[in-house]
């Protein structure tokens, strides 16, 4: 019998038993999907973005379905870093799955504050830094589009934590490579991309925006080819591992990202369609490796035929 392929990957000091995580904002804080899938099967759980203080988020309607995608403007509703730690971490600690906490803020000080708090919470494996939420009017966005601000916020977070640090890059920037390099130079252990793509939809009868926030971020299969290209470009610019995100709903989708250069992937909107998507993708990747006689997933990362 041939040995099972090695599915494990590393993001800095964080070892994942397989390369498939669930993306921030699409999996709640864990309990929401725990009845439906075994969280222990996942490579990691990335929880919904948290901030210094609790945030109420945007007025409804908060999401709108479009062809092969979803535009969301939730507005980062969350219980705040202390609320998250007390309400959800006792639950998550019961599982043998790395927990990556997505953080965001309106100032560098906010980011540093939340990172320091998260670093002190037992059971957290990593921090994903959201510098690119399209749904927050002040702050967050500029950290993802201004290279100097981006470096400063990543360096500030790095100072406060030794956990695996993963800046999440925005798609709506002039070029992905300078930001990928800046993340690497500022001490990031990995980068994740892409965040949702700024978008809007209009009700033509009412002549009103379909979202309470007017604009939002597009996710789902519609953005997958954009994301694959950005991962491919980023992979050429940095040595740190990349987490590929954007419209992944099947194992072939995930494999495209991995071949383009992603070490791991995150399943987002597809969790809403089919809660067991991530588990099916893990099984599909495993079967692909077996079929192609590969010893491990690492062989496949960035193996695009040129």
């Amino acid at each position: 019998m041939t040995p099972k392929p090695d599915m494990s990957v590393h993001l800095g000091g964080l070892r994942m038993k397989n390369p498939v995580m669930v993306a921030s904002g699409t999996f709640g804080y864990g309990p929401e999907y725990a009845d439906l899938i075994d969280l222990n099967r996942l490579g990691a759980v990335v929880v919904k973005g948290i901030s210094r203080e609790p945030v109420r988020g945007n007025p409804p309607p908060r999401t709108v379905e479009v062809a092969s995608g979803l535009i969301n403007a939730i507005g980062l509703q969350n219980p705040g870093v202390d609320g998250f730690a007390s309400e959800y971490m006792p639950f998550l600690r019961k599982y043998d799955v790395p927990v990556i906490v997505n953080i965001w803020g309106r100032s560098i000080d906010d980011y540093a504050f939340v990172a320091e708090r998260v670093d002190a919470v037992d059971g957290v494996a990593g921090i994903e830094v959201n510098v690119s939420c399209p749904n927050i009017k002040e702050g967050s966005c500029m950290f993802g589009s201004n290279l100097d601000m981006f470096k400063r916020v990543i360096a500030a977070v790095r100072q406060k934590t030794r956990l695996t640090l993963i800046p999440k890059l925005a798609p709506d920037i002039a070029g992905i490579q300078p930001f990928a390099k800046a993340a690497e130079e500022s001490g990031a252990d990995a980068i994740s991309l892409i965040n949702s793509v700024p978008a809007m939809a209009i009700d033509i009868e009412e002549r009103r925006p379909k979202l309470g926030n007017v604009t939002g971020g597009l996710s789902g299969p519609a953005i997958k080819p954009i994301a694959v290209k950005m991962v491919w470009e980023a992979a050429k610019a940095v040595k740190i591992p990349i987490v590929g995100i954007g419209g992944i709903s099947t194992a072939p989708d995930a494999l495209e990202f991995i071949i383009a250069g992603a070490t791991a992937v995150a399943v987002g909107t597809a969790n809403f369609t089919e809660p067991a998507t991530a588990v099916a993708i893990i099984e599909g990747i495993d079967a692909y490796l077996v079929r192609n006689g590969m010893k491990g997933i690492v062989e496949l990362v960035g193996s695009l035929w040129k």
């Binding site: 904002g25 699409t26 999996f27 709640g28 929401e32 999907y33 009845d35 439906l36 919904k48 109420r56 988020g57 409804p60 309607p61 908060r62 999401t63 379905e65 062809a67 092969s68 995608g69 979803l70 969301n72 939730i74 509703q77 789902g220 299969p221 909107t269 597809a270 969790n271 809403f272 369609t273 089919e274 809660p275 067991a276």
Partner: protein, 261 residues
Amino acid sequence: MLLEDAKVLQQREIQGGYCLLVMSAPAIAPRVQPGQFVHLRVPHLDSAVLRRPFSVYKADHNTLSILYKDVGRGTVAMKALRDGEIVSLLGPLGHGFPPPAKDKYPVLVAGGYGMAALYLVAKNAPVKGTAFFGGRFASDILCVDEFKSLGWEVLVATEDGSLGIQGLVTDALEIWLQKELKNREPEFFACGPNGMLKAVGARTIRGNWTAWLSIDNKMGCGVGACLTCVQKIQTPDGGWTWERVCKEGPVFECRSIVWEE
């Protein structure tokens, strides 16, 4: 909460674009409480990333049925479902209606196919009461005989007067409250458009009664993760908080709901 591949047993248009879909769902069906819903993945609609939520109309040990109207691309695609096809269901979801209080007179108020969410309430109620069905036209008034055969009185209002009294369902309710309520204390169970729910809630508060309202906000994941379907709910300190219609709801007591202006 379970994921189940349900099998279509029957799919037919009842009237005026309203359809009945009966499925074999032996895992989910026996667990359904009145007022709960299922999240259905529409087959043959790959461009859809969201499931569609439907109140459970009827449920027994093996089968579960829903009522829907062909209003969007999801429901239009559902009309093509054929007997024997497999449909992925997530459910039962949400917190439904509480059991009717034994010392009160149960009153159902439904707008359009809102009555679907009330059938199991009617069926399980220890005391049979009065049900009000409203719609724009006679074709919007569904399944009256189904409720009558459970022993309920059914009173109808249509906006065009083509069935029952002419007016809103809340007009029919008001007439009844004036003439027929007598010294009984009503307990309301309602499902329909927000305007109707708001009116039922306001009347309930004026009468110092109780009303359980099932809210139908636009929904995303159905399990509490995405925070799409949030509703403003009063907090004990006089403020408000967003609660998830899919998780804490869809049924709330009328006093707890903060309606948008």
